[in-house]
């Protein structure tokens, strides 16, 4: 559908404004990463760096941001994989094949996600202590799963429900099994939803802080947010190092996101063809 040039220009203008407002804090962090200490705390704030420096980045590596990054990669990827594997079939079941008690279960699943994170810190700590899992990746993976699974189930359920039933009916009339219909027909079509859910699961694990700081002790298992927060001390805030660490830390998620954006685009094209 073609639009007038004016409307198009208007759309761009609106998007540019939104982009600026959205990206400003992030750009400021990245800018700070290249500033020396004098320029960081300058009053009034400096926008155009006079003496860019890479010292903050070497500082960040000196404080082992790469180790924390490695831990985060492990925790996030395992958590995302497991929650997708467990939740997607369940979401499909809730959407298409309800069984007695499924509505109640679905609501119960949602209620699990309503519990404020801080309420369960101490019980989870005690549990992990008993299981001797403190300061390991498993502790984080297990705890994260407990709130990722409800999220993934609910999100995927809505995506599945939005797909028309005829597709499975048609496939099954052609002799496909239920699971086969799910696997080979629905999933590819729901690729958009799957990618979206995966992105959110990964990001949630990537950025989680409270459980990470409580259930870990040393760099063996400490994830990025904990390592970055080490920049806030009781004496001063090491903005340079923190900004550099945060910038480094954002890159993998960004790449993962761009990777999955391809699926979203594919999904959209498939959808158009099917339509």
């Amino acid at each position: 559908m073609k639009q007038s040039l004016l409307v198009q220009a208007g759309r761009y203008a609106a998007l540019v404004i939104i982009l600026i407002l959205t990206l400003f804090p992030i750009l400021w962090i990245m800018l700070t990463a290249f500033k020396g200490p004098q320029e960081i705390s300058a009053v009034p704030p400096i926008f155009f760096i006079r003496q860019p420096t890479l010292a903050n980045f070497s500082d960040a590596f000196g404080f082992n941001i790469h180790v924390a990054l490695g831990n985060s990669v492990i925790v996030a990827s395992v958590t995302t994989a497991l929650s997708m594997i467990l939740s997607v079939p369940a979401a499909y079941a809730f959407a298409r094949y309800p069984f007695p008690g499924s509505q109640v279960l679905l609501t119960a699943v949602l209620m699990v996600r309503m519990i404020p994170g801080i309420a369960l810190i101490i019980p989870f700590f005690r549990l992990m202590n008993r299981l001797n899992l403190l300061n390991t990746h498993s502790a984080l993976i297990i705890t994260y799963l407990s709130f990722q699974i409800p999220f993934a189930i609910w999100l995927m359920e809505s995506f599945f429900r939005a797909l028309p039933r005829e597709l499975e009916e048609a496939a099954m009339m052609d002799g496909c099994s239920r699971f086969g219909a799910f696997w080979s027909i629905i999933c590819p079509l729901a690729a958009v939803g799957l990618a979206t859910t995966a992105i959110f699961c990964a990001i949630a694990s990537w950025n989680e802080f409270l459980y990470a700081v409580t259930l870990t002790r040393t760099s063996v298992s400490q994830t990025g947010p904990v390592a970055i927060s080490a920049g806030v001390t009781s004496y001063q805030i090491f903005w340079g190092r923190m900004a550099a660490s945060a910038t480094i830390y954002v890159l993998p998620v960004l790449m993962f996101n761009l990777l999955l954006q391809r699926f979203i685009v594919q999904g959209i094209t498939i959808g158009a063809v099917k339509g």
């Binding site: 200490p37 403190l134 760099s219 080490a230 004496y235």
Partner: protein, 428 residues
């Protein structure tokens, strides 16, 4: 899709195997004991500790595992660890306000049997009494400080203001007059910190102490709404609201904003902890590094500050107490403390350490003078009330401080309400 899931499964399996192998390798490479020490992540002295402790590790064949916790979460994480008696932490750094709380909750071991008499005598300024609860010593200090007054020597000269001396600190009236003189559009005379956190409460208590007031008396009775206390808080509030010599954003400020603004030349005077000295005198971070000096805080009825600090304690649920104590003794020995001080300028805690510092030829004149002031401030200092419930009480005082500074309540009203609540807290 299939391929991806397959790859993920393989990756998962590989990770698990690698993690397992790593664990085995780590376990195999150990000789001697490993103790876990909880410290504040990213703090400058921690880096120094880690280097200094290498000597101990080599001497004894033991290893230290550093549990680095971000400052904002340190208290809470320690509470979780210690209350679960996980035994995973053997020695811990403690910030003074928490000491009584931890001791009363049974998280720390008493150290009276472990410390030698001569060591006991060597720690000065009644520090050890401040680290005792119920007559028993629970921690060894390694870093003690009391806020001092930072002021701009150039501005004082410019406006013809009397510079404070050790014998004659600024009086309250002089302080106010100086602040008013130095406040123009660009610079503020001083700063008031009032955000919802612990350090600003300490400052409020200092203002109260300086008027001769007290917070809790010897019988665990709160006295926060008595005239001296109200006067102290009123002065703080007036600095922001009435005289306007402090930046209006007081309710969002803490000590970091304090030293940042001062080192960027936006403040004429600021009361802050000694840690800020190294920052403000560093030309790489500060624009006023050669234009300031420190002095004792102003004197109303008296001049005093809160004495605070960091110390090291032995965790009661530890299973390696002797090794942990050995390390604590090492790192708080005169020589190691002296090494620490040289790299991280702060007042000494031991008499022998002070002697070593005074005999050191590399200390500059400015540093020596600063050291004198810092020591005097600690000497004049008053500790926070020694209560297990201090965390909760100071939190309640934080609300009162914010209500008063924001103008929601008058200082009398705010402190009356606080008095009521604190009475309830202490009688639970």
């Amino acid at each position: 899709m299939n391929r991806i899931i397959q790859n993920v499964r393989i990756a998962f399996a590989v990770f698990i195997m690698m993690a397992g192998c790593l664990g085995i390798v780590q376990a195999a490479a150990q000789t001697g004991e490993t103790i876990a020490v909880a410290v504040q992540a990213g703090a400058p002295e921690v880096v120094i500790y880690q280097e200094l402790s290498k000597a101990w590790e080599e001497q004894t064949g033991n290893r230290i595992e550093w549990v680095e916790i971000p400052q904002q979460n340190m208290h809470d994480k320690l509470v979780i660890e210690f209350s679960s008696r996980s035994g995973a932490i053997d020695a811990t750094a403690i910030s003074e306000p928490w000491l009584v709380e931890f001791a009363a909750s049974g998280y720390l071991d008493a150290l009276d049997d472990r410390i030698s008499d001569e060591d006991r005598a060597d720690f000065g300024f009644n520090l050890l009494t401040k680290l005792s609860y119920d007559g028993k010593l629970y921690a060894i200090p390694h870093y003690m400080f009391a806020p001092v007054l930072y002021y701009r020597t150039d501005l004082f000269e410019q406006y013809g203001l009397r510079k404070p001396t050790m014998e004659e600190p600024l009086t309250k009236e002089e302080f106010l007059a100086a602040a008013q003189a130095m406040t123009n559009g660009d610079v503020f005379g001083t700063i008031v910190e009032a955000n919802r956190n612990v350090p600003p409460v300490h400052h409020m208590i200092e203002y109260i102490y300086r008027e001769g007031g007290q917070i809790i008396d010897e019988n665990r009775q709160p006295r926060v709404n008595e005239p001296p206390a109200v006067k102290g808080l009123q002065f703080m509030v007036d600095l922001v609201r009435k005289y306007k010599v402090a930046p209006p954003g007081a309710l969002g400020f803490d000590h970091v904003d304090n030293h940042t603004l001062f080192s960027q030349g936006k403040l004429g005077m600021a009361i802050n902890w000694p840690y800020a000295y190294s920052i403000i005198s560093d030309p790489k971070q500060s624009t006023v590094s050669d234009k300031f000096a420190i002095a004792l805080p102003f004197k109303a009825v008296k001049t005093t500050s809160i004495v605070g600090g960091y110390s090291l304690g032995l965790v009661s649920s530890s299973r390696k107490k002797d090794v942990a104590w050995d390390w604590i003794k090492f790192i708080t020995s005169t020589e190691q403390l002296y090494n620490l001080r040289k790299r991280n300028f702060a007042p000494p805690v031991r008499r022998s350490e002070l002697e070593m510092l005074q005999a050191d030829p590399t200390l500059s004149q400015a540093q020596r003078e600063a050291l004198e002031v810092m020591l005097k401030a600690v000497e004049n200092g008053t500790p926070v009330p020694s209560l297990p419930e201090w965390n909760q009480v100071s939190d309640r005082l934080s609300i009162a401080l914010q209500e008063a500074v924001s103008g929601q309540k008058s200082p009398q009203e705010a402190l009356d309400a606080a008095q009521e609540d604190i009475e309830k807290i202490l009688s639970r």
